[in-house]
Structure formats: structure tokens, C-alpha cells
Symmetry: C2
Subunit: 319 residues, 2 copies
């Protein structure tokens, strides 16, 4: 027996984390009404995602789109088996998120010094200290702690980020901060499959007991290939964003979280078991344009599912 | 030793065929001037593609955009090692293409009966007879014959196409018509990696001496993953279209040939040897919007190459 076939899931379980309500909505100029956010999260948790990043507990001035974080997190319907997470940048945010009932805090810092300064306005070691305080608040309340490490596959300012740097920060976050999970983030769409397979394998060998998630952007068309490379290297958890909403305001052109329905559709055809109901996700995605006021880069919404074209084209052929 | 690592090219040679001048331009409403087409093909052959589908010898009424087929094919600069191919639907087209100096004729029919009727207005067995006449003309003139078999990975009217049907038609085309090469075409973006790996492997086992090319569309975001699955299954030739130009007029929403510069960029980072100069391809793609009068779905044109963002973002961070 050699390695498993990377092109056939053979029923293997893959966990998908929906980040659209936070990562997608945070940069939308139009405020999405609180009740619509709640309905969206409820529909997404009913669709079968393993984790939903519901909102962020950040300064209301910094991200006014998510100024209703408490209201949304308190109101969403809890569902067994679904983790309701919130992004948190510091101790103040951690306190608010814990009080509002987050199942998990997702803390953020960058593997790149330049990007950390540009995005979070502080050095990495300052971020680390601040995240340790936030983690302590969560841990005291028995709330899970995940850390999303950005620019792991490249930094728009520094270029390549050394694997050793990534492993160094993962080590501090797991061993010192006590993170139960790490998300390796391709913040600006610079990841490519060779690198993804290498880093994923290195992470799994060193920290087999830590929950590993991968977060990719499809900026350069490699999103799905990156996911498949990570799966082949042992990962089984992925962030994705409904409708492909969300990007990164600090990296020009770097829009394009991997689209949830694209990913569910592809993994389902390949025989992976995401437990996500594609029809429900497509129904959610179908509401997005009205919700955010613009078109979204969802491919199944535009082209249909793999066997959906049949009826449309048959209709055309009648002409 | 098990199978090779699918995520690391290790310098393996991959041949890319540029189909934009034919497959891309054929559906453009604005006529691209003959001299611009010639300049485009010359720039593409200088960029390192192994094969270029220069034009199509079809009815001028059916595809007015390519009514200058003879002029273009006669005028393009020949380059050692580059195959200058032309698409041909029948004997009349074959005669014209051979006289105009095509290195290779690319004949077309569909693996799906319904699609063949809708697209070519005849039954598959009628198409096959017609292609046999076209092939005989090429063979008498010592011109190579390739057949592009469409809807191999699914038909927008019939849904799934059985592997056995695909193998049956490949067999007739190779053994009876005498095709030296077969292109398995994902005409409407229905291919998925599991299926691609399976069909590619089956083809290679049965016809190891026949030149196999894969033609994918990125309609549902699986283009690159399909290419990687085919590479892992032994294929090493792929069609791609500059700027992602081209689609299929009979399949609504099914735009999106795999984009040449996306593919060159990804394969280069993964360590495959395409011998295509990405900078030259990007320069060609950069002229497309002016040439066709609209934006094109090229990702490297929009987001830059993997390490290009560095300067842009550094500039932004100065603000």
C-alpha cells in the first residue's frame, strides 16, 4: 500500500468552517442588518458546517460592519456539533466574546513582521503578548482557543516567509500560549500546492494532537489545488467563505477567499464527506447579492452544479 | 518507490498548447484585424508554447471572426519545435488547411450524441465519416491529425457520459481514422479530478503511443485541479487559452477555458518545466483587452504573480 489516492476521497471526513459572516461581511461597505446576519448564520449551521466564524469582537470604529457582534452571537441558534467561533484581536475582545457565549476564540497575528505591523499596527512579539492575555481569559472560562496565523505562505511586503519562521510561531502559540488549534492562512493568495503539502506535513509531524485548519484564497486560481494538496498531506479542516466573499484590505487585488459552495461541490464529486448540504449552501449564497448589494464570485451560482446544466442546455437545444 | 509526488513537478516536462487564437477569438463579436492575429500568434510562439491552434477552416458564415484563416496561417512565422495547428470540421476545411500549410489538423466531434447534433448538426457516425475524409486528405499530405473529442467529462444535455462510450470513440478515431493524437475535452466545465485521473489512466494504458492532450474549462473552479490529476495519471499535454478567453456558445454559463497564464504560473511554482516564458505570456495577455474590447478573466493580470504584490503592498504600507 502506498499513499492514498489524492483524487478520490473514498468517504473521508473533511470539516468545513464557514467564515463568511465574519471574514466576508467585515469589508462590506453596506451594513447588513443584525436580523439578516442571524438568519444567515442559522441557515449556515443548518447546512452542516463544522464551525462558523460568526463575528468579530473588535473596535466598532475599526470594523463598523460588525458592530452588532454581541447581538448576533447571543441570538444565533446553537446546534450540537457546530462550533460557533468569534474573531478576537486582544484581551478586551476576548472578554466580550466570552461573555457573549463564543464556543471558540479565533485569535490573529501574522507570521510576517511587516504584515503584522501594517495590519495590526504592532510587532509580532507585541501581538503574541496581547494574544496570550486574550487566551488566558478564554482558558479561564473553558473556551477553546484557535490562532489564525496570517501570511504563512507568503507576505505581500516581504515575499516568501521561511517555513522555519512559521514553525517557530506555531511552536510559541501551541506551547506557550496554549492554542488548541492553529489555522495556517494564505492571506493574500500566495500559496501553491508544493509549499502547502510541505508545510502541512511538517505541522502534522510536529503537532499531531493540535487541530490544524488551512485557510486559502483563490486569488491566483490555486485555491482548490491547495486544499487537495493539504488533504493529501493529512489535513482535514478548511476555512471557506460563502459566495467567495471577503478578501484582505491591505493586499491590493488579493480578494477571494475560497468559495464555500465551490469547495463543497468539488469535494462532494471527489468522494469526500463534508456533511455539508450543497443545496442549502447554494440557497444561502443565492441571498447574498441582495444582502450585500453586489454580485458574488460564486461559480455554482453562475454555472450551476456539475449536472445542473442539463436542463438549461436541453431547453436551449429545443430552440 | 511509490507514485511520484503529485504536488512537486521535479522538473518534469509539460507541453502547453495555446488555443486562444482559435477557441478564444472565434466567439468574439468584434473582428480582430488580421495583422493583430498574426502578431499575437507570433508572440505566443516566441513565448514557448509547444503547439498553437492558429485558426479554424470553417464556413465564413458560421464563424466570421475567423474568416481570414488562410491569411493568418500563411503569414505567421514558423518556429522549430512549435506545431501550428488548425481546427477543421470536414474535408473542405481539411483541403484549405493543408493548402495553407497547417502542421496539424485538429478535427472535432463529440462523445455525446445530443451535443454532436446540437453543435455540429449531425449524428456522431456522420461526423466520424466526415472526419475520416478530412483525415485522409491530411494523411495524403503528410500532415498530422489530432481529434478533439468534446463532452468527454459530461454533456450539458445528457449529463454523465460513460467512460466506455469515450473509450469506444477514441478507439474508432485512433484505429480506424488513424488519429495520431486525441484531445479529451471538458467542453462545459463538468470534469472533476477523480474522473479525470480515471479516464487519463485508462487512455494511457490502452493507447500508450498516442499523443494525449487534455482540454479543461475552469467553469466550476476545478481547472487546475483537473490538470494536476491528469498529470498524476501520466498526461503531459494541456490546452489553455490566453487570458482565459473562450467558452462554448451552446452551454449557457459554461465560459472559461483554463487560462494560459494562470496555468503557466501555477505549474512553474510547482516545479514543472513548461518552457513557456511567463513574462512574455503576460505581455500577450495584457494586449487582449484592447484587442477584443473587454476585460479578460486572467488572474495574474489582475492580482500579479505570486511575488509581484510585494512592491505594490510595500507602496501601500508607506501610506
Amino acid at each position: 500500500m502506498g499513499r492514498p489516492d489524492p483524487w478520490n476521497g473514498m468517504g473521508r471526513r473533511v470539516h468545513l468552517h464557514e467564515v463568511g459572516p465574519r471574514d466576508g461581511l467585515q469589508i462590506e461597505p453596506a451594513f447588513v442588518p443584525t436580523e439578516d446576519k442571524i438568519a444567515l448564520v442559522d441557515a449556515l449551521s443548518a447546512a452542516g458546517f463544522s464551525k462558523i466564524e460568526v463575528t468579530a469582537f473588535v473596535s466598532m470604529k475599526a470594523i463598523p460592519a460588525l458592530r452588532d457582534a454581541e447581538q448576533v452571537l447571543r441570538a444565533v441558534a446553537r446546534r450540537p456539533g457546530v462550533v460557533f467561533a468569534a474573531l478576537v484581536p486582544d484581551a478586551a475582545g476576548a472578554q466580550r466574546a466570552v461573555e457573549a457565549g463564543a464556543d471558540e476564540l479565533n485569535l490573529v497575528m501574522s507570521a510576517s513582521e511587516s504584515y503584522n505591523r501594517a495590519n495590526l499596527r504592532r510587532r509580532r512579539d507585541q501581538s503574541f503578548q496581547s494574544l496570550c492575555e486574550a487566551a488566558a481569559i478564554a482558558q479561564a472560562a473553558n473556551v477553546r482557543v484557535n490562532v489564525s496565523l496570517s501570511c504563512v505562505f507568503g507576505c505581500p511586503m516581504e515575499g516568501d516567509v521561511a517555513d522555519a519562521d512559521v514553525m517557530h510561531w506555531c511552536g510559541r502559540l501551541i506551547d506557550k500560549l496554549g492554542a488548541g488549534g492553529i489555522t495556517l492562512c494564505d492571506t493574500t493568495g500566495m500559496a501553491f500546492p508544493t509549499q502547502v503539502a510541505r508545510l502541512t506535513r511538517a505541522f502534522g509531524e510536529r503537532w499531531p494532537a493540535t487541530e490544524l485548519t488551512l485557510h486559502f484564497h483563490d486569488t491566483r486560481g490555486m485555491g482548490l489545488a491547495d486544499v487537495l494538496a493539504a488533504l493529501d498531506a493529512g489535513a482535514n479542516r478548511f476555512d471557506a467563505s460563502l459566495g467567495g466573499l471577503g478578501g484582505c484590505p491591505f493586499a491590493p487585488g488579493a480578494t477571494g477567499n475560497v468559495c464555500s459552495e465551490d469547495l463543497v461541490h468539488a469535494l462532494e464529486w471527489m468522494g469526500f464527506d463534508t456533511r455539508v448540504d450543497l443545496a442549502r449552501v447554494l440557497a444561502c449564497a443565492g441571498h447574498l447579492p441582495a444582502l450585500v448589494g453586489h454580485d458574488v464570485p460564486s461559480r455554482p451560482l453562475k454555472a450551476g452544479r456539475r449536472l445542473d446544466l442539463r436542463r438549461q442546455a436541453a431547453g436551449l437545444a429545443d430552440v
